[in-house]
């Protein structure tokens, strides 16, 4: 056991650090670090830069642009990209649909989709959740019937993040209603321009428009757009859920946020001193840092433990990353509100929901403080709520 990084590992870290901070425009990184929303064009721009340098999809198979990195390298990639404020590859493309197509798709699907997915020439969105399903994902009711050589899809999806920008959607559909619910689901790829698809924005309590409802009304999709086998879609979706363990905890992003909070607290006045001079604030900040440091070590232990294990089998310990990582992200929004104090009150979002302070009351960052607090409630709800994560640990680790 040697818990120090090797010189090679540190050199890799430095290389990543330098790349992200010199190649990705500072304007984009600053917006991310300040908690503001990016435009569609900014997200595309940075992904194409990453892809040009072979750094958009390191988790993919090498033949499709992936990297054969060690767990520590994958850790440093994720950590540094987040620390630098680089949004990184759009998760739907790089962590979700890409790996599934690479693993289970036909050769034709791979050729058609993977390069375009890596370069964000195709913007994907996810069609999994349905109204009323919640954590019971497998209970989905959107159905696809094979009629005249075409899948005909009817139903409704919801919580489709950034669906308003998407070119394609990957949809879980019920293709056999007469078997156990997990066994009658297929994984289908669908062009968002297909007639019968309607996207309706969901306005969230932070004032933003991040998620959507997607309605399918007799949407006709070519038969070959199914990934892998009919009725095996649930397996592919589960493969995907356990695929990306290094990003889930958002350790790097949380470190970047804490660094920024520390800077802001050193500036923001409180009485005759600064917020950072208040011992109680500092202790609250330190407590979050301590939990984050522990989580970072937990993450390193979990990725080290992956060595030699089959891919696609999620380590149930990664539920810790999800639970604790989301708690920490939420605590961080509390800290930002503490720094902002009474200046959180104005609802100061611009039309694009950029989180800029348009009222001019209080410091610039304060405008995004309360919306971030409201918005981050989602991280303990989506992607398997923290209650579901506890169920997983109870069953898979504690053996209840």
């Amino acid at each position: 056991m040697d818990l120090n990084f090797t010189a090679e590992e540190l050199a890799f870290r430095d290389e990543m650090r330098k790349f992200f901070r010199t190649e990705i425009p500072e304007s984009i990184r600053t917006k991310v670090l300040e908690g503001q929303h990016l435009t569609k064009d900014e997200i595309i721009l940075q992904q194409r830069i990453l892809n040009k340098h072979g750094l958009a999809v390191p988790g993919w198979p090498v033949e499709w642009g992936g990297k054969d990195w060690t767990p520590v390298q994958r850790y440093f990639y994720a950590d540094e990209i987040q620390l630098a404020g680089v949004p990184g590859g759009l998760a739907f493309n790089t962590s979700m649909v890409g790996p599934v197509i690479a693993q289970f798709g036909s050769e034709a699907q791979k050729k058609k989709f993977l390069p375009a997915t890596a370069n964000l020439d195709i913007w994907w969105c996810q069609g999994f959740s349905e109204p009323g399903a919640g954590s019971d994902l497998a209970g989905l009711r959107t159905k696809a019937e094979l009629i005249d050589g075409q899948w005909v899809i009817n139903g409704q999806k919801t919580w489709t993040t950034l669906g308003q920008h998407a070119d394609w959607i990957f949809v879980l559909c019920r293709t056999d209603p007469n078997v156990k619910k997990q066994e009658g689901i297929s994984y289908i790829l669908c062009d968002m321009k297909t007639p019968g698809i309607t996207v309706r924005p969901i306005q969230t309590i932070d004032g933003g428009h991040e998620v959507n409802e997607v309605f399918f009304d007799d949407v006709k999709v070519p038969a070959e757009n199914i990934v892998g086998e009919v009725n095996k879609g649930w397996d592919y979706a589960k493969f995907l859920l356990g695929n990306e363990r290094t990003g889930i905890a958002q350790v790097g992003a949380s470190k970047a946020r804490l660094k920024r909070i520390r800077e802001l607290a050193a500036i923001e006045p409180m009485g005759e001193a600064r917020v950072l001079d208040n011992p109680k604030f500092r202790e609250k900040l330190s407590m979050v840092e301590i939990e984050l440091k522990a989580l970072e070590m937990t993450q390193l232990r979990i990725i080290a433990d992956e060595k030699g294990k089959a891919k696609g089998r999620p380590n149930p310990a990664s539920s810790i990353l999800k639970m604790k990582g989301s708690e920490i992200q939420q605590w961080i929004t509390d800290l930002t509100m503490d720094v902002a104090g009474p200046y959180i009150m104005p609802f100061a979002m611009s039309d694009e929901g950029s989180g800029r302070n348009e009222v001019g009351y209080g410091p610039e960052f304060a405008a995004a403080a309360a919306p971030a607090y409201f918005n981050k409630r989602k991280v303990s709800i989506y992607g398997g709520s923290n209650e579901i994560q506890r169920n997983i640990i109870a069953k898979a680790i504690l053996g209840f």
């Binding site: 969230t204 009222v359 409201f374 409630r377």
Partner: protein, 379 residues
């Protein structure tokens, strides 16, 4: 000690409860928010007719003659309804200041109009740099002839955009954070040199930034250098009213969550059958009852003449309200799941209002520090 309502209190409670039931469904509220001021003038007239706008004023000034308990009843119901109208700004802050600092003539002139619903008042006190320090006043008032001229800027003036009259604290003497040297001025919202920029707050209510460029005050309330103790007292009373509103918010969040749990099915059964969710909603309930209990203490104590014990009790109340409110708000969202994150569902709006109340007039942490510095609650 008697927890039963008097007949008059019961009547008041019934009428405000009925008002909320009739006029403040979630859908009706959306409509009011879309009106010009961001709230309903029609509701305001109705409030006046029911006597709510003078609930805490003497009958001599057209009021209902109620005390802290009456204000609590109204505020709690308004919390349950998530009421948008400027009751807090006009009646609690504006009316409170006039009541505590005004002469009989001033009260006669202004309180009766507030009670009648014909005068909207806002209180411009907070400044960009003051954070939670009530003595940190940089707006100036200088003597000019037999009146006063104001200069400077005030921030987050609640419902300052629609007010007819603005009560403004300004420094007449001393330096920035001195406790002495602060006066309380009555300013006509249309006065020359006054500009205001209205905006929504996170909770869907309204506020304004107001700047004063040689604005002539219409009047002054009390000692032009000694307003701070009255401001502190009225803010203590206002915090108690906010806490009562918060109890209404928490109650509604809790009830809505319990109802939702009974209806919402997951994995083939109502989620209310999951013991984990049951216990968490029980913890919300306990937090709610603790909040409701201490709010009664805070309500009574807000009327205490002794500044120290009044302020300690009000701060203690705000701490428990803040602690309970955060737990209840966050758990209400978590137990609902995604739906509570949407503008179309009511729980998120309660959660946002709760969050703003936590930040208003000092956060939980600030008030805990105040309590800790002022000795035992059981003295």
């Amino acid at each position: 000690m008697d927890f039963d309502l008097t007949d008059d209190q019961r009547l008041l409670k019934d009428s405000v409860d009925r008002l909320i039931a009739d006029r403040y469904s979630f859908d009706q509220r959306k409509k009011y928010m879309a009106e010009k001021d961001g709230w309903s003038r029609d509701n305001w007239a109705q409030f006046a007719e029911l006597g709510l706008l003078g609930v805490s004023f003497d009958e001599a000034y057209g009021g209902f003659g109620g005390g802290p308990v009456e204000s609590m009843l109204v505020a709690e119901a308004f919390g349950r309804g998530l009421v948008l109208e400027p009751f807090f700004a006009t009646v609690v802050l504006g009316g409170g200041l006039i009541k505590r600092a005004g002469t009989d003539a001033q009260k006669m002139a202004m309180l009766s109009e507030i009670a009648a619903g014909t005068r909207l008042v806002a209180f411009a006190h907070v400044e960009r740099a003051s954070r939670y320090n009530l003595a940190d006043v940089q707006v100036t008032a200088t003597k000019s002839g037999d009146g006063w001229v104001l200069n400077g800027e005030k921030s987050v003036v609640m419902h300052g955009d629609c007010a007819d009259t603005i009560l403004v604290t300004a420094r007449t003497a001393g330096s920035r954070r001195d406790r002495n040297g602060i006066g309380l001025f009555v300013v006509d919202a249309k006065a020359e040199g006054l500009t205001r920029k209205g905006y929504p707050t996170q909770d869907g209510l309204r506020a304004a930034e107001i700047s004063f460029a040689n604005v002539r005050a219409a009047d002054v309330l009390g000692d032009p250098a000694g307003a701070l103790p009255i401001v502190e007292r009225v803010i203590d009373e206002a915090i108690a009213v906010l806490c009562s509103e918060a109890v209404g918010l928490m109650h509604e969040m809790h009830v809505t969550t319990v109802d939702y749990m009974k209806q919402r099915k997951q994995f083939g059964r109502a989620i209310s059958e999951f013991q984990v969710l049951q216990h968490r909603s029980v913890d919300m309930f306990v937090a709610l009852e603790q909040a409701r209990s201490i709010n009664m203490f805070g309500t009574v104590m807000a009327g205490d003449d002794d500044a120290k014990s009044r302020s300690r009790a009000v701060s203690a109340t705000k701490v428990q309200i803040g602690k309970s409110g955060k737990l209840i708000g966050e758990e209400a969202v978590q137990l609902h799941g995604g739906i509570a994150m949407t503008m179309e569902y009511k729980v998120g709006h309660y959660f946002k209002r709760m969050t703003m109340i936590e930040a208003l007039y000092g956060s939980t942490a600030d008030h805990l520090a105040k309590v800790a510095d002022s000795g035992s609650l059981f003295a």
